[in-house]
């Protein structure tokens, strides 16, 4: 992938803002989706669908459930 971590973070912030209304600036690597951002499991599916389109990666359900923090997603998309 050519995108840098910062570019992915910005793209993810936009997606999360679009889906949940959470300001993109609050989407930082250390945040937990459930505990910090209050994002439920169906919203995670929506985010995953949008991220798959945006970044061109498949996120299988058995992987999705392991993505607990924003950093986890950044790492998954980069590898």
């Amino acid at each position: 992938m050519a995108a840098t971590e910062q570019e992915i973070l910005e793209g993810l912030g936009k997606i999360i803002n679009e889906i949940t209304g959470i300001p993109a600036s609050e989407v930082t690597p250390e945040k937990s989706f459930v505990d910090d951002l209050d994002i439920d499991s169906l919203s995670m599916v929506e985010i995953a669908v949008a991220a798959q389109d945006e970044f061109g990666v498949e996120i299988p359900d058995d992987q999705l459930k392991n993505l607990k923090t924003v950093k986890d997603v950044l790492t998954f998309i980069q590898h």
Binding site: G21, V49, Q52
Partner: protein, 410 residues
Amino acid sequence: MSANRVRVVVTGLGATTPVGGDVTSTWSALLAGQSGVTTITEDWVDTVPVKFAGTAAVDPAEVLPRPEARRLDRSEQFAMVAAREAWQDAGAPEVAPERLGVVVSSGIGGINTTLSAYDTYKERGWNRLSPFTVPMLMPNGPAAWIGLDRGAQAGVHATVSACASGAEAIGYAMDMIRSGRADVVVAGGTEAAIHGLNVAAFAAARAMSTRNDDPAGASRPWDRDRDGFVLGEGAGIIVLESEEFARARGARVYAYASGVGYSADSHHITQPEPEGRGIIMAMTQALNDADITGLDVKHVNAHATSTPAGDVIEVQAVAKAIGTHPLVTSTKSMTGHLLGGAGGIESVFTIKALHDRIVPATINLDNLDDGIEVDLVYGANRRLPEGDIAAVNNSFGFGGHNATVVFKGA
């Protein structure tokens, strides 16, 4: 009628329609005789014989917060906008969740979602579908989302009967209150069906106007040159309460919701029964339920959709069931036909007419058809008399469903 029966009052009104994004702007437009029907430019328009519709004056997706709008089908967006307006208009009643109900219907459900999700599924696969696809396409979705928004627990229902759906919803809501199941019920109808497939299908039934050179003149109930209905979209929602509950909290009361009548033609799946027997039965039952006679009814907001078959049958039935004296209008001449939303917005209009004592004129009625004896309002708006009067909203649907709701001045 039992003297101690629970009486139901209307305390809140909400609407988003082809002529306005709320009740105030919609009602002003109706009194000014404005049509909400315009040429449409969607990419499918070249594939169908109808090139116009009553598109909503205000896009609900622009009104709702973005994260909410993307989880709601357009029919749900309309319903949510109108329900919130009605709730605020009622003064946001404080009611226990187990005493609050919702009855909101649509005729067709989330068909835009059904069709766009099918494209996504075919072209990109199941895992590109939103996890909210099912609640967006299910016909009980509008009721369910409003129930969630308000925390309603007394029961959340969606009566489905094509173009009678909205009126049936209001009747069902009245019965929830009268039977003691709820103190407050949010009720009405919604529809968002301006899509190529629906237009094609209604056109295939030869039910739609094809007056493409004059969209604003296309919906012309009772006019000799009418050629079918015009598709509209939007929602109308009202807040109903037991009179006791509303009075105790000092609510403003617009009107009594005092009677409802239902019937089924059992004649033809889409054609009206030529003698109007089913709709006479619905109106008669509604008057009996309201414990009034035809003479008490001073206004009828007719179903009249601008189809050659239905319009005259209806007013001949009005003459038999109620009399020739009420002021009869068809606001569909301006809004087009909202299908399952019709009974919702037209109940709002009936209540506004009673409350403001004015009946908006039917537009586009240039040459009155034969066989009409009732007092149609056209050319200019007409005043309703002061005093203790009633008004009727009729809604009829494909399938032979008939529903009549009676409101009385407060």
